[in-house]
Amino acid sequence: MSTPLLELKNISKSYSSVRVLNNINFSVVPGEVRALVGENGAGKSTTVKIIAGVEQPDSGGEIYYNGELIHKMTVKHSLELGVSVIYQDLSLFPNLSVAENIVKGSEKKFFVGLNTYKKQASAVLESLGVDIDTSLLLSELSIGKQQLVAIARAMYSEAKLIIMDEPTSTLSSTEVELLFDVIARLKESGVCIIYISHKLDEIFTVADSITVLRDGEHIETGAIDTFDQEKLIKLMVGRELRFVPFHGTDIGGSGTTFSVNNFTLEPYFRNISFDVREREVFGITGLVGAGRSELAQSIFGIRKASSGEIFLGGEKISISHTNDAIQAGVCYLPEDRRTQGLLMGQTVTRNTTSANLRGVSNKASLISGQKEKKVVEEYIERLAIKLPSIESHIERLSGGNQQKVLISRWLNAGPRVLIVDEPTTGVDVGTKQEIHRLLRELANNGVFIVLISSDLLEVLAVSDRVLVMRNGNAADLVETKSASQESIMEKSLLG
Amino acid sequence: MKKVISVILAMLLLVMSFAACTKPDDGKTTTPPVTEAPQVTEPAGESKGTIAVVSYVTSAPYFAFGKSVAIKAGEDRGYDVIWTGTPEVDTPGLIDIIDNLIEQGVDAICLASGDTSSVVPSTKKAMERGIKVVSFDLDIEAEGRDAYAGLMDLAELGIPQVESLVASIGEEGEYAILTGVLTNEFLNSRIDYVTEYAEEHYPGLKLVTIEGQNEDPDEAYAAAQNILTAYPEVKAIMSNVSTGVGPISRAIEDAGKIGEVYACGQSSPNLAKPGMASGACVSAILWDTAKWQEWAVTIAANLIEGVDMPVGKLDIAGFPDAERIEGNTFYFYETFYFTPENINDFDF
């Protein structure tokens, strides 16, 4: 066994009394592809940040690189040692050119040769088999292409250890194939890769060994063949848990529907029509860029669809601004929680009541503190939100609790239609279950639910019918009882 | 709790910094060789009262030069002198300072205001409290002051400027005026007198334009250059403020128009020296701004002491041709005509 490239010895980490990592020990050797798996909140991101030097472990933790003890792993130090991280949010520079993004962080000279960068960047992209014009601004690329730029950046820095955090979340399957060849090539040249992903099938195709983390503790590390999917999920979740299907019963009860007729907004989507029956959760899925969020935003009034009507319970409603939508009872939980949903720097109370201020104000239309307090406490209890106090700032809460606050914001607005866009990204499994149960409960109480999600397992388990979108067109409408994950994926790719 | 402690901490720091600055400053940081006159002077004997000298822009050299002279004049008469005013043009600030002086119960306020009427309500309040109000530099409305310590009649003040223009370019030709802040009434009224007097006495002189600069030498330089290009035949640029001639002369020198175009009008002697040396300026006028403040303090002291100052010729030490005109107006008629020959025996 060659000396381990990186060894973590009893690494712990806690943030103001919340213990996030509890005495992690594992090591990786050059030329190995190690999958790091675990649910959200299991401590994967923190481990990555400690290896990359962005965070420091609590005292007592030791990091060995090529066998020697690293006293203080700072960001600069880890970059010099050849650690390169592809973060989930890509952490690139939208205002710089592609060439610069690839080179950033590992330039040697003080003076910068933009054209030498261009040449080097194009060379790396060629070796990746990707052709992107390196003089373009990064913000002009699609998210998928940006992901490839992040990968090229890691390769350019001749990293010995590359950590990939959810690298395929925005890639098409052809691009995923490409990534796997690159990983294979890197492996042969002795580069060690730590691969983090939720997609178990990917892990079994690319990883040599797996380390499982759960609730901040190291559970088990072993070669790939000592695992199968069943055992892995059991280790990850620690209890028998499969997506409990929440399919509805006697759908279409009194026949009233929420229907959308040939909605069009070039270049995002064109003549999309669907209707949601009573007590039904209607799913919409498809790859990134299929136009799902843009469709939802035009229904909700953020964007102006060029044509199409909306009918709710039979009568036509016209929405030109988000306020009209909310008055008519149409609510939308946005996809990008950080910039479109959360009101950072404001209290949990203000985030909860922001959509229905009239509801918490007294006769003189002045907001009354007690009413707000009552409303917030009601939802904290109903959705079991864990938070220090209702007056604390929203950014102090964990991802799952933040999402629950946003959901309670829309419940407080008395929705007749609730469109949720990727409701469970970055949310721990427990909260995911609760959100699914809540959606089904709302549907049963007469709220028309539209679930937009690219997580096929979730779409299959929760929605009754699924509209598959591809490049802005309605590819197919599928009954979830009879469909399987493979058939839906196939439709969203080939159409 | 930590919050409240931090606020108290802030106050302690604050108190210490006040204490440091109210004591006559000992061992301050490097003080250049400027005569360090502390604000409030305590003459040996019992002081006869306090005279405040307030000006509307204390950072302008026009007023700053007069500070030590005004304080000394007050001391000689046995008064404490408070020399203050707003650093930059700030009318609300100026009025607050006047109100605070009233509350302090000063005996007299000598005031140079930016315009004739904005301070009148405050000065009337002072007069009701028995405080003597003497306006200087720009006279304010008569009901708002006990006396105007002036140099000469405003109309006549325009005359030396025109004389300086005629001395530079003769009785024909185009000339431009470069003035200061546009809302300063002392400047605006003087421009009117200049143009009236010029039309009356020298019809050959033609005013082509009036341009503004906010007492910023760079802006004055640029304005002068623009005038030179916009009006190729202009013969002279008359400065309506004491800081204008310096930059105007530089502009004329750099445009290579020495001898063709002349800087003239108001200027403090030191600023005119380079221009006179290079020939860009052959005549400038001004008055002794420091002496003007001394004149105001003298009048104020006389008013406090009830010295009788009949209409007509007055004999006041240091002011040979002082005179009182009806309407509580006092002039001391001392203007200077600077020429390349006599410029060097002035230094302010």
């Binding site: 943030y15 103001s16 959200n40 909140g41 401590g43 991101s45 923190t46 990359a52 962005v54 960001v75 600069k76 973060y87 952490s91 690139l92 520079f93 939208p94 205002n95 710089l96 330039e107 003080f110 910068v112 933009l114 003089s135 601004l137 950072m344 720097g345 950014e395 102090r396 809460l397 964990s398 933040q402 949310v427 | 250049p32 204390t58 302008a60 050299p61 007023f63 700053a64 030069f65 500070k67 650093p87 546009l182 334009t209 341009e211 503004g212 007492e215 030498p217 760079d218 330089y221 640029a222 250059q225 623009n226 290009t229 916009a230 190729p232 310096g246 930059p247 750099d254 020296k273 380079p274």
Partner: protein, 332 residues
């Protein structure tokens, strides 16, 4: 060519506005296009032009400096005092001293912003009063005049009929271009302005970029102040009043965004030129004195409104996610 048009749309609109304004002025007074006047316009805006590039660097890091007028006055007086005492013998040393003092004042701002983590506009609001107050207190409003020797007027010495100050402006434009586009330091400033968290993860210390930007603005202010003292032979403590607003206007009209990350040297140059042409044009076009402020205001609004139309399509959301380091919320 298409990339240039698409990418530099804002600057194109600015050029159009400039040409329009020039044409109007030209039609009223033909001397506007005379070589003398054009050189005058450049010469009179060279000092502010030099400083506007420094202000652009500060705004790129997502900060603002309103104490630049006060720093200008301090450097102006210090340089003039030195030149006065040494008879203006060595202008080079005088300019160096000006730049050092400017750098020191810039460093003070930079340290306060990075260390105390207070918004830059508030820090510089405080230092503006402190610098100006101390300068007034020490100089008590006295000015320094009658500078002599080689120091006097070297800023106006003309080579090929172009004043030295204009060459300095061009030199600073080139230096800023190299600094921003050709050195790692400049790229890091742009990077940390664009995505602060990503910059930290790439080993770039965002605070270092902020400090660099403030010191660079300080150096340029010192340079401009020394040129002013040499050009006029006078220095007074109430110099530089209101400079900060003009500099911010020039940089932002040119396309530098307050949210940081985007900057345009050519745009800032055009912004300054536009403001310069307005001042010059008002005199040449014989606009009566009292109408000048009104015309200036209208032109600024028109220039800004037209470039706002151009970026109407992009919904520019101000990403103001307040990130608290090492907080459980950032775990997901």
């Amino acid at each position: 060519m298409t990339k240039l048009i698409k990418y530099k749309k804002r600057e194109m609109i600015l050029v159009l506005v400039l040409l329009l304004a020039s044409f109007i002025i030209y039609s009223i007074s033909p001397q506007f296009v005379s070589s003398v006047n054009i050189i005058n316009v450049f010469n009179n805006n060279a000092l502010l032009g030099i400083m506007s590039l420094g202000m652009m660097m500060v705004i790129v890091t997502g900060n603002i400096d309103v104490s630049v007028g006060a720093s200008f006055a301090v450097c102006n007086m210090v340089v003039a005092a030195y030149a006065n005492n040494t008879g203006g013998k060595n202008p080079f040393v005088a300019v160096l001293i000006g730049m050092l003092v400017g750098a020191a004042l810039g460093a003070v701002n930079g340290i306060f912003v990075t260390l105390l983590r207070i918004p830059a506009i508030v820090v510089t609001l405080g230092t503006m009063n402190i610098f100006r107050g101390i300068l007034y207190f020490i100089t008590e409003g006295r000015w320094i005049e009658g500078l002599t020797g080689p120091f006097l007027g070297f800023a106006n010495r003309r080579v090929l009929n172009i004043p030295f100050a204009v060459y300095m402006w061009i030199a600073v434009i080139v230096i800023t271009y190299i600094l921003l586009y050709r050195t790692r330091l400049g790229r890091n400033v742009l990077a940390s302005g664009g995505n602060k968290e990503a910059a930290r993860r790439a080993g770039i210390e965002p605070n270092a970029s902020t400090l660099t930007a403030f010191i660079y603005l300080g150096i340029l202010t010192g340079l401009a102040a020394s040129l002013s003292a040499s050009k006029l032979g006078i220095a007074q403590p109430s110099n530089g009043l209101g400079y900060e607003m003009t500099l911010i206007a020039a940089a932002v009209i040119g396309g530098t965004l307050f949210s940081g990350g985007t900057a345009s040297i050519f745009g800032t140059f055009l912004g300054m030129l536009l403001l310069g042409i307005i001042d010059n044009g008002l005199v040449l076009a014989r606009v009566p004195l009292y109408w000048q402020d009104l015309v200036t205001g209208l032109i600024i609004i028109l220039a800004v409104a037209s470039s706002a139309f151009q970026s109407f399509s992009k919904v520019r959301s101000r990403r103001k996610t307040i990130k608290i380091e090492g907080d459980p919320a950032c775990q997901d």
